[in-house]
C-alpha cells in the first residue's frame, strides 16, 4: 500500500487541474463534488496506509532523479513514516470536512470555483510537504503552501485589508522561509545531500565538508536557521503577526490554515527533522523558550480581543507555542500528539465560529452577539465541545495532549516553562469561554431583524461540525494511559523512543484541570453572571495591561516603525543617489565632453594668424619637451 502514497497528493492536484480546466463558470455542485471526492479518496488511501504502517512500520523513501549537478543528483520522491502517515490522515480528514463546509459558506460567490481551485492546491501542497523524503522538496512545497495561503487570505482581493493581510502573510512567512532556505543550503553544502536519511547520518557522525565553523556550532546554526523557518510558518513570536490578520480570508480557509495545513507545517518540519535539533542542546533551549513565550504571549492577547475569529486565531498561536515548547523540551510524542488533537478541535472551533458568522450576516464582533444558543443550538454545542477541548477539560482531546506537554516541561526541569504553560492554560480557558458566553448566552446585542433571521445552516455545514466534535472528544484517548499510550508506540514506529517520554502524573493532570476550571469559572463570573464587571476592571486598575493586551503589545506598530519605515527610507535614499549621483556622474561626463567640444569650436575664431600661433605653440611645446627629454638643452 505504501508505495501508492503518491496517490494522496495526486487526488487534490487532479481535482485542481480539473477545476482549472472547467473554468470559473463551473456548476457549484460539480465543483464541490469533485473536490470533496478527491479529498475523501485521499483520506481513505491514507487510512489504508496508516494501517499498513501500523502493521509493517516505516518504509524506505521512493525517489526518482530530478536534476544533475555535476556528479551529484537532486532527487524528488515520497516516503511514509508513522509521523507523516498520521499527518496525512489528519490533513485529508479535515480537508474533506472543510471542503464540504465551504459549499454552504461560499454559496453564491462569483469566484466559487476559483476558491475551490485554491483550496485543492493548498491541500495538495500540504500533502506534498508531508510526504517529502528530502529537505529540498519540503522547501518547495513549503513555499507553495505559503503561496496558497496568500491566495486564499487575499481571496476577496477587492478588500484592501484582505490584500494587505495576504501580502503580510506571505512576506512575514518568507522572512522565516529565507532562514530555512539558508539552513537547507548550508546542510547541502556540508553534507552534499538533501535526503533526510543522509543528512541525519551526517549529523550523527558530525562530519561536515565545511571548515569555517566547528561542527557543533554548525549544527546549532543550522538548527536555529531551520527553526526560524518553522517560526514563520507556525507563527511563533516574533513572527506571529501575520496569523491574526489572516482572518481576513473566508472562515473555512482559516480553519484549514489553523488546523491542518499552513501552521502545522512548521511544527511538522521540526518534528520530522528532530534528529538535527536533538543534536544541538542550545538550539533546543532556544526553541523551548520561543515556544513558551509564544504560548503565554498569545494567550494574554487573546484575553481582550473582540473579533471572534481573532480570539480563536490567538488561541492557535498559543497552542502552537505549546507544541514548539514541547519539542524544545524534547517531548516529541507529546508535541505531535497535541498537533493532532489540536487540529481537530481547532478546526471544529473555526467552523463553528464560521457557522455563527454565516448565520448573522458576516458580523464577527462578539460585542454584537449574544443569546444565539436558542437560534443555533447545534453550533452552540459543538463550539462548547471545542472550547472544553481547547481548555483541556477531561476527557476532551485537549486535556490529554496538553497534560503531556506540561508534564514534559516539568520533568525536563524547565520549571519556568512549566509555569508559563500553566498560566497560558488558565488564560486559554478564560478567553475561549469569554467568547462562548458572550456569543451564545445573554441577550443579542445586534440589530433585531438579524437575530430574527439567524438560523442553523444546512447539513453541509452541520455534518462537519458533528464529525469534528466527535473527534474532539475521542481523539485524546488515543494516547491516554487508558489506551496505554497507543499513539506514542505508533509514532515511534515500534523503534526506540524519539525524544523523552514520561509516565503520566495524575496530580499534574488534576492541577491542570483545576487551573482550566478556574479560568472558566472566572469568565463565567465576568460574562455570564456579571458578578464582576469587566469594563470596571478594564478602565480601572488593570487599564494599562488591558490596553497592552488589546493592542497586541504594539508589536505591529513596533515593526512598522523599526523595520518597514527605515527600509522604505533607505530605498528612497538609494533611489535618489541612483538618479542624481550614479547617473549624475555619467551625465557630467557627457556634458563635460560637450562643453569641451564647444570650447574647441569657439577657439576656432577664423583668424589665420591665431591658427598659426596655435600651431607654433604646439610646435614649441613638442620641441621643448623633446629637447628636455634628450637633454639637448645645451
Amino acid at each position: 500500500m505504501v508505495q501508492n502514497a503518491w496517490l494522496i497528493p495526486l487526488f487534490p492536484l487532479v481535482a485542481y487541474l480539473l477545476l482549472f480546466v472547467l473554468g470559473r463558470r463551473a456548476q457549484e455542485g460539480i465543483v464541490t463534488a469533485i473536490s470533496v471526492l478527491a479529498a475523501l479518496a485521499g483520506f481513505i488511501v491514507s487510512l489504508l496506509i496508516l494501517s499498513d504502517v501500523h502493521a509493517n512500520g516505516a518504509s524506505a523513501p521512493y525517489v526518482f532523479h530530478w536534476l544533475t549537478v555535476g556528479q551529484n543528483t537532486l532527487s524528488m520522491g515520497f516516503e511514509v513514516t508513522p509521523l507523516n502517515a498520521m499527518m496525512l490522515t489528519v490533513v485529508t480528514f479535515i480537508s474533506t470536512l472543510v471542503l464540504l463546509f465551504s459549499k454552504g459558506y461560499l454559496h453564491g460567490d462569483a469566484r466559487y470555483s476559483v476558491f475551490y481551485q485554491y483550496l485543492n492546491l493548498f491541500i495538495f501542497s500540504m500533502l506534498g510537504l508531508v510526504i517529502s523524503p528530502n529537505l529540498l522538496q519540503v522547501y518547495i512545497f513549503w513555499e507553495l503552501v505559503g503561496l496558497c495561503s496568500f491566495l486564499l487570505v487575499g481571496f476577496w482581493y477587492f478588500k484592501p485589508e484582505a490584500a494587505a493581510a495576504a501580502k503580510k502573510a506571505f512576506i512575514v512567512t518568507r522572512i522565516g522561509d529565507v532562514g530555512l532556505f539558508i539552513g537547507i543550503v548550508l546542510i547541502y553544502v556540508a553534507t552534499g545531500t538533501f535526503e533526510y536519511s543522509g543528512v541525519f547520518e551526517a549529523f550523527e557522525a558530525k562530519k561536515f565538508a565545511i571548515d569555517w565553523i566547528t561542527p557543533d556550532h554548525f549544527i546549532t546554526l543550522v538548527a536555529i536557521l531551520m527553526f526560524i523557518g518553522a517560526m514563520g510558518k507556525s507563527a511563533q513570536f516574533p513572527l506571529h503577526t501575520w496569523l491574526p490578520d489572516a482572518m481576513e480570508g473566508p472562515t473555512p480557509v482559516s480553519a484549514l490554515i489553523h488546523a491542518a495545513t499552513m501552521v502545522a507545517a512548521g511544527v511538522y518540519l521540526v518534528a520530522r527533522a528532530f534528529p538535527i535539533f536533538e543534536a544541538s542542546p542550545d538550539a533546543l533551549t532556544v526553541i523551548g523558550i520561543i515556544g513558551g513565550i509564544t504560548a503565554i504571549f498569545a494567550a494574554l492577547i487573546g484575553l481582550t480581543q473582540n473579533d471572534i475569529k481573532r480570539v480563536v486565531a490567538y488561541s492557535t498561536v498559543s497552542q502552537l507555542g505549546y507544541m514548539v515548547m514541547a519539542l524544545g523540551v524534547s517531548a516529541y510524542a507529546a508535541s505531535t500528539f497535541h498537533l493532532m488533537t489540536h487540529a481537530f478541535f481547532k478546526a471544529l472551533l473555526f467552523l463553528a465560529a464560521g457557522s455563527v458568522i454565516h448565520a448573522i450576516h458576516h458580523n464577527q464582533d462578539i460585542r454584537f452577539m449574544g443569546g444565539l444558543w436558542k437560534k443555533l443550538p447545534l453550533t452552540g454545542w459543538t463550539f462548547l465541545i471545542g472550547a472544553l477541548a481547547l481548555s483541556g477539560i477531561p476527557p476532551f482531546a485537549g486535556f490529554w495532549s496538553k497534560d503531556e506537554i506540561l508534564l514534559g516541561a516539568l520533568k525536563s526541569g524547565n520549571t519556568t516553562l512549566f509555569v508559563l504553560g500553566l498560566i497560558a492554560a488558565f488564560c486559554t480557558a478564560f478567553y475561549i469561554f469569554r467568547v462562548f458566553f458572550m456569543t451564545f448566552t445573554g441577550e443579542f446585542r445586534g440589530e433585531k431583524e438579524v437575530y430574527e433571521h439567524a438560523h442553523e445552516s444546512g447539513s453541509v455545514m452541520t455534518i462537519p461540525l458533528v464529525l469534528l466534535s466527535i473527534m474532539a472528544i475521542v481523539a485524546g484517548l488515543l494516547n491516554s494511559p487508558l489506551t496505554d499510550h497507543a499513539f506514542e508506540h505508533f509514532i515511534f514506529g515500534g523503534g526506540e523512543e524519539i525524544g523523552k517520554v514520561y509516565d503520566t502524573e495524575w496530580w499534574l493532570a488534576g492541577l491542570a484541570t483545576v487551573v482550566a476550571l478556574a479560568g472558566i469559572g472566572l469568565s463565567y463570573l465576568m460574562y455570564k453572571s456579571k458578578s464582576i464587571n469587566p469594563e470596571a476592571l478594564a478602565n480601572g486598575p488593570l487599564r494599562p495591561f488591558y490596553q497592552l493586551s488589546l493592542n497586541k503589545f504594539y508589536v505591529d506598530e513596533l515593526y512598522h516603525v523599526a523595520i518597514v519605515k527605515p527600509v522604505v527610507w533607505i530605498g528612497h535614499i538609494l533611489n535618489f543617489i541612483d538618479k542624481w549621483v550614479v547617473d549624475g556622474i555619467v551625465h557630467l561626463f557627457g556634458e563635460g565632453t560637450y562643453i569641451g567640444s564647444l570650447g574647441l569650436k569657439y577657439s576656432q575664431n577664423g583668424q589665420v594668424q591665431t591658427y598659426g600661433l596655435v600651431t607654433l605653440i604646439g610646435a614649441l611645446l613638442l620641441i621643448g619637451a623633446a629637447m628636455y627629454a634628450v637633454g639637448g638643452v645645451k
Binding site: R24, H65, W66, L67, T68, V69, G70, Q71, N72, L136, Y139, I140, F141, E143, L144, L147, G154, Y157, F158, P160, A163, A166, K167, F170, I171, R174, I175, D177, V178, F181, I182, V185, L186, Y188, V189, W212, V567, V568, I570, G571, H572, L574, N575, D578, V582, D583, V586, G590
Partner: protein
C-alpha cells in the same frame, strides 16, 4: 541537412529585412507577416537542432566554418585568419533557444504602429545580431554581431520610443559602444597571447581556449590574465547593466516599445552574461578565481541595491529593470563561486530571468495598451476588468520572486548552493534579495490588480486571442524549467563540468 542550419538561423531574419526593403511602404500588414515568418523559421530550426542535440558530449556541434579574412603579417610573419565559424554547445544552446522564442514572441507582441515597415526591418537586423552573438565561434565574428545590434537598437528606441527617446537612444549607443571597446581589447589581446603559445594567429574561440588551457605560465603570465579579465569584466558590467554602470537599462526599458523591451530584457542583456561564461570562465578561469571575492561583492551589492531601489519605483518598467539587475546579481554570485552548482545556477538564472523579463514586459505592455499608463499608482483592481491578464501578472510576479515550481527558484537555489560553499557570509547577505523581491513584486502586483477598481479602469477589454500565445508559451517554459529542470540542466551540465574540471574546482 544539419550542415548549414546555423547559417540559416542567423541570416534568415536579415533576409527578411532585405525582402521588407522591397515591400511598398504604404502596406501595413505585410511587414508583420514577413517578420513573423523570418523569426518563426529560425525558431523551428532551433527546435530541430535541439531535437538532434547530443547533450552527452562537451564539444561544439553542428559546426560550420570557412576562412573569411586573411590579415597578413598580423603576428610576426604569420597572417591572422578570421573564420566565419558557427557552432552550438551545451552553453550556447539554451541562449539560442531563448533568443528564438523571445524574438518570435516579440513580433507577436508588436502592436500596430506607424512606419511599421522600417520597424520590422530594424527589428530583424537586431535579431540577426543576437543570433550571431550566441552562435559565432570566432571572437571577431562575435564582436561584429555585437556591434551589429547597436544601430538597430538606436533606431528602434529613437523612432518608436517614449518622450525621452532621443536622449536615451544616444545613451544606450555610447554606453554599449564603450563596453564593446573593452571586449575588443580583451579579445585581440587573448588572440595574440594564444598565438604566442601555438605559433598560429587565430581568433577562433576553441583554439584560444585550448591554447590558454595548456599555456606554460611564463608565456601567459597570471598578471596578464588578471589584467585582461579586469578589462573584460568592466565591459561586461556595462553590457549587463550592473551597478554602477546600470543607469542605461531603466531608461531604455522605460522608453523602448514593448516588444523591444522584451528583446532587451530577454536576450540583449544576456549577452554580457554569455561572454562572462564563455570567455571569462571558459578562457580565464584562474583569473576569475583570483577576483572571485570582488565579483561576489559586486554581485551582492547589485542584488541588494537594485532590490532596494526597485522597491520605491513608480513606473512598472523601471521596477522591472531594477529587479532584472538584482536577479543578474545572483548570476555574478554564482559565477564567483566557480563550482558546478554556482555556474549552473548562473546559467539557469540568466535564462530564467530572460524568460521572466520577456513575460513581464509583455504583460506591462498589454496593460499600458489598455490603461495608457505604467505608473503603478495610477492602476488598481485590474483583476475585475481583466482577470486573465491579472492572473498571468500574478504568475509572472511569483515566478520572478523565486517561487518553487518555476524557473526562478531552481536558479536561485542552485546559485546559492554554489555560493554558500565559497562565500557563506556574502551569500547570507545576498539572500536579503529573496525577501525584498517578494516585497516589491507583491506590492506592485497587488497595487495593480487587487483593491477596488477605479471608474476609468472599469470595462477594459481582457486578453485577446493572439495575446495568449506569448503568455502561455512563456509561462509554460518557465514552469517546465521549474518542475523539470533537467530539461535545461542536462544541456549545460557537461559544458559546465568541463570548465569546472579545468580549474580543479
Amino acid at each position: 541537412m544539419m550542415g548549414n542550419l546555423l547559417t540559416l538561423i542567423v541570416f534568415l531574419p536579415l533576409l527578411g529585412a532585405l525582402i521588407l526593403g522591397f515591400v511598398p511602404r504604404s502596406n501595413d500588414s505585410q511587414p508583420k507577416a514577413v517578420a513573423m515568418i523570418a523569426t518563426l523559421l529560425p525558431l523551428l530550426f532551433a527546435g530541430i537542432l535541439y531535437a538532434n542535440f547530443d547533450s552527452g558530449q562537451t564539444g561544439m556541434q553542428f559546426t560550420e566554418s570557412h576562412d573569411w579574412i586573411h590579415i597578413a603579417h598580423a603576428f610576426q610573419d604569420k597572417s591572422l585568419v578570421i573564420g566565419y565559424s558557427l557552432g552550438v554547445d551545451g552553453l550556447s544552446m539554451p541562449f539560442l533557444l531563448l533568443t528564438a522564442v523571445v524574438t518570435f514572441l516579440g513580433v507577436l507582441a508588436t502592436k500596430h504602429m506607424h512606419r511599421a515597415k522600417e520597424f520590422y526591418i530594424w527589428y530583424l537586423i537586431l535579431v540577426t545580431g543576437l543570433y550571431g552573438c550566441f552562435l559565432s565561434l570566432d571572437l571577431f565574428l562575435f564582436f561584429l554581431f555585437l556591434e551589429m545590434t547597436l544601430v538597430p537598437m538606436y533606431f528602434l528606441i529613437g523612432i518608436w520610443g517614449g518622450d525621452r527617446k532621443g536622449q536615451v537612444a544616444t545613451k544606450f549607443l555610447i554606453y554599449r559602444g564603450l563596453a564593446s571597446v573593452g571586449i575588443l581589447v580583451a579579445f585581440v589581446a587573448l588572440a595574440y597571447k594564444a598565438a604566442m603559445v601555438t605559433g598560429v594567429m587565430t581568433m577562433d574561440m576553441i583554439a584560444i581556449t585550448d591554447a590558454f588551457a595548456k599555456a606554460p605560465a611564463d608565456v601567459i603570465t597570471s598578471s596578464f590574465k588578471q589584467g585582461i579579465f579586469l578589462v573584460l569584466f568592466l565591459a561586461i558590467l556595462i553590457e549587463e547593466a550592473f551597478f554602477p554602470f546600470h543607469t542605461w537599462l531603466p531608461d531604455t526599458h522605460e522608453q523602448a516599445p514593448t516588444s523591444i523591451s522584451m528583446v532587451v530584457g530577454g536576450v540583449l542583456m544576456k549577452i554580457g552574461a554569455y561572454v562572462l561564461f564563455r570567455i571569462g570562465v571558459g578562457i580565464l578561469p584562474d583569473a576569475v578565481q583570483y577576483f572571485a571575492t570582488l565579483i561576489a561583492v559586486i554581485g551582492v551589492i547589485n542584488i541588494v541595491y537594485a532590490a532596494l531601489v526597485a522597491m520605491v519605483q513608480r513606473d512598472w518598467r523601471r521596477l522591472l529593470a531594477f529587479s532584472a539587475i538584482s536577479h543578474m546579481g545572483v548570476v555574478l554570485l554564482g559565477v564567483a563561486a566557480m563550482n558546478q552548482a554556482g555556474l549552473q545556477g548562473g546559467v539557469f538564472m540568466t535564462i530564467s530571468s530572460g524568460l521572466l523579463s520577456g513575460l513581464l514586459f509583455f504583460l506591462i505592455g498589454a496593460i499600458k495598451e489598455r490603461t495608457g499608463t505604467t505608473i503603478i499608482g495610477a492602476l488598481g483592481g485590474l483583476s475585475k476588468p481583466m482577470p486573465i491578464l491579472a492572473g498571468f501578472l500574478l504568475v509572472a510576479a511569483l515566478g520572478s520572486l523565486g517561487l518553487p515550481g518555476m524557473s526562478g527558484f531552481i536558479s536561485e537555489i542552485l546559485a546559492f548552493m554554489g555560493a554558500f560553499k565559497a562565500f557563506p557570509v556574502l551569500s547570507a547577505v545576498g539572500t536579503l534579495g529573496i525577501i525584498l523581491a517578494a516585497v516589491y513584486l507583491l506590492w506592485a502586483m497587488q497595487r495593480t490588480t487587487y483593491g477596488p477598481t477605479t471608474a476609468q479602469l472599469e470595462g477594459l477589454p481582457d486578453a485577446r486571442a493572439v495575446e495568449y500565445v506569448p503568455m502561455v508559451v512563456l509561462v509554460a517554459l518557465i514552469i517546465l524549467i521549474g518542475v523539470y529542470p533537467s530539461i535545461l540542466g542536462d544541456l549545460v551540465n557537461h559544458t559546465i563540468s568541463s570548465y569546472v574540471t579545468r580549474i580543479g574546482g
